[in-house]
């Protein structure tokens, strides 16, 4: 697509320049977060005042944010796992069967990510308060599953759509039951998609704020706890927890890059 004579073209140059600016804008907050987590300044600004680990120290001795991180690390993996299981079953059914109302069903699945979480949060609170479930981590788990099933389903469907139908048919012809074909042929084939879906679902739940704000009560997830610290005062330990969270995200991102992007944009060699 891009050939040699493109090189010294002003448009290409402008594009490269714009890309550089865009990256600077995108990464500025992350750089600032990490930089000031190691700085002595109470109020982040220049000139820099030297290296310190006191904010990490404060973070670990204080414990509120770590407890919230713990809450999140319970809820998000659980929600991601349940959502991925539900999504795999549904993706398989959508991929293999035809039935009336399929399009409507698919649209209905997508709806939870299109409706603003703020509205869903109020709705969840209304229902869960009636069921005396609000204010618990279990409530956050229940509601997050709804929210993150659609992205997980989309990823797994993408993977299953790449599976030749003959693969499964061969298994049936060789005497496998339908269930055996699912567990021994379809599941292994879908595994990268399932892994990618889990990671995506996990990150969506990990970062979800407003629903958790409405339903979590006195067991806040990490974003909710960070928010309540934030509105109270400037606290550089937020930089420290931010750096830790950023580290976790980097791990997830590497996982996603290895699994998800090849599924989404295709391999680089069949693009050109």
């Amino acid at each position: 697509m891009i050939s040699a004579p493109y090189r010294r073209n002003p448009w290409i140059l402008a594009g490269g320049l714009w890309l550089g600016l865009a990256y600077a804008f995108m990464f500025l907050p992350l750089v600032v977060l990490v930089l000031f987590s190691f700085q002595k300044n109470r109020f982040p600004g220049f000139p820099l005042q030297g290296f310190t680990l006191q904010w990490y120290d404060k973070l670990f001795s204080d414990g509120t944010l770590l407890k919230a991180l713990g809450n999140t690390m319970v809820v998000s993996p659980a929600a991601a796992t349940v959502a991925t299981v539900i999504a795999f079953f549904a993706a398989y059914a959508f991929n293999r069967f035809t039935f009336r109302g399929k399009t409507t069903f698919l649209a209905l699945v997508t709806l939870p990510i299109l409706i603003p979480p703020l509205i869903l949060g109020v709705g969840f609170l209304g229902l869960l308060a009636r069921l005396h479930l609000s204010g618990t981590l279990f409530a956050v788990f229940l509601t997050h599953v709804v929210l993150i099933t659609a992205p997980a389903l989309a990823i797994i469907q993408l993977r299953l759509a790449q599976m030749p139908a003959a693969l499964e048919e061969a298994a049936w012809d060789l005497g496998a039951t339908e269930w055996q074909a699912v567990t021994k042929v379809v599941l292994p084939f879908a595994l990268p998609g399932i892994f990618g879906a889990w990671l995506l679902a996990f990150t969506f739940s990990f970062d979800e704020f407003i629903i958790a704000w409405f339903v979590s009560g006195f067991q806040p997830t990490l974003p909710v706890a960070i928010y309540s610290v934030l509105v109270a005062a400037i606290d550089p330990s937020l930089n420290a927890i931010g750096t830790i969270v950023f580290g976790i995200s980097c791990l997830v991102l590497i996982g996603l890059e290895l699994v998800l992007l090849p599924l989404l944009v295709g391999r680089p060699d069949n693009q050109s």
């Binding site: 804008f25 939870p112 599953v145 339908e178 931010g242 680089p268 693009q271």
Partner: protein
């Protein structure tokens, strides 16, 4: 989501199997109980009453009457709604244009084998926590924050950027949140354009600019519309950026007013009047449906005029 294989390829698959219902049931149940039911509840609770700080089932238009009675005066929900629409639409426009330029740059200015890395870099910030990114923007934009202290250091202390706790700061936070998603949507839609068309245009004597305005831009219209409406919906529903960067009631051309989403959040946390909060949320749903319908009609008209 709908890219299931075409039925012709799947003729040999038996369609009647217990797995069909068994596999769809968990999703259906979860959606019915924990998505449709809460939404129905939201609409219903809007008509409840509050007695002794307890929400009581009833059917009255009291909440709506109360809200609309002070729509532009005391509680100024209406002005917050106008503020929200103003912020959301301008944010969506700016974010979509900037992201489109990024997507174009990745697709045309980056050599093929580096494109995936370029896209990954653009998406990477999305995987850091939104609340923390907003906190970081606070430290960057605040009065004695990163930008202003840098300006002071380099001897430009006469200039200072004073946009923290204005809706401009709100927009910066929103654009930073939206950009990765918009870039992916727009990049995919540019990628879907048949390269042969662009090459043909160039070979027939189009300049690069003409190839862009006559081939690439019209063919990415659908992606642009998707991106823009997504940005409007997200911006309308987001309270975080307005609360943390806009400082609740951020200054703007319209005045020092919060966005509607911020107002719903603060209204609930100060009163815990769930029926009224539900009514406010219902009004937001109505506004969003209207905004989407308006956008749909507008693009449909534009589409008919050009084709």
């Amino acid at each position: 989501m709908t890219n299931t294989a075409s039925p012709s390829k799947r003729l040999k698959t038996p369609n009647d199997s217990p797995l069909k219902i068994l596999f769809l049931a968990p999703l259906g149940l979860w959606l019915a109980v924990l998505f449709l039911l809460p939404l129905a509840f939201l609409l219903w609770i809007g008509f409840w009453r509050v007695e002794n700080f307890q929400a009581v089932p009833a059917f009255s238009f009291g909440n709506y009457a109360e809200i609309f009675a002070s729509f532009f005066s005391k509680s100024r929900y209406g002005l917050a709604l106008v503020q929200s629409l103003w912020v959301a639409i301008t944010t969506a426009a700016v974010a979509t244009i900037l992201s489109y330029l990024v997507a174009l740059s990745i697709a045309f200015a980056v050599p093929g084998r580096w494109q995936r890395l370029a896209l990954l870099l653009a998406v990477a910030p999305f995987w850091s926590s939104y609340v923390l990114r907003l906190y970081s923007w606070q430290t960057i934009l605040s009065r004695n924050g990163v930008i202003n202290s840098v300006l002071k250091q380099v001897g430009l202390s006469d200039y200072r950027i004073d946009i923290i706790y204005t809706q401009i700061a709100t927009r910066i936070g929103l654009i930073h949140y939206l950009a990765p998603i918009l870039i992916v949507i727009l990049y995919v839609s540019i990628l879907a354009i048949d390269k042969v068309l662009i090459e043909a245009a160039r070979e027939l004597g189009c300049t690069r600019w003409q190839a862009f305005t006559r081939v690439i831009l019209p063919l990415s219209r659908f992606g642009l519309m998707t991106a823009a409406s997504f940005a409007v919906i997200v911006s309308l529903g987001d309270a975080l950026s307005g609360n943390l960067l806009g400082g609740g009631a951020g200054a703007s051309i319209i005045g020092k007013l919060p966005t509607y989403a911020s107002m719903i959040m603060s209204d609930y946390s100060s009163s815990t009047n769930l029926p009224r909060t539900s009514a406010l949320a219902t009004i937001l749903i109505a506004v969003m449906v209207l905004a989407l319908a308006f956008g749909f009609v507008a693009t449909d008209r534009a589409h008919r005029r050009t084709s």
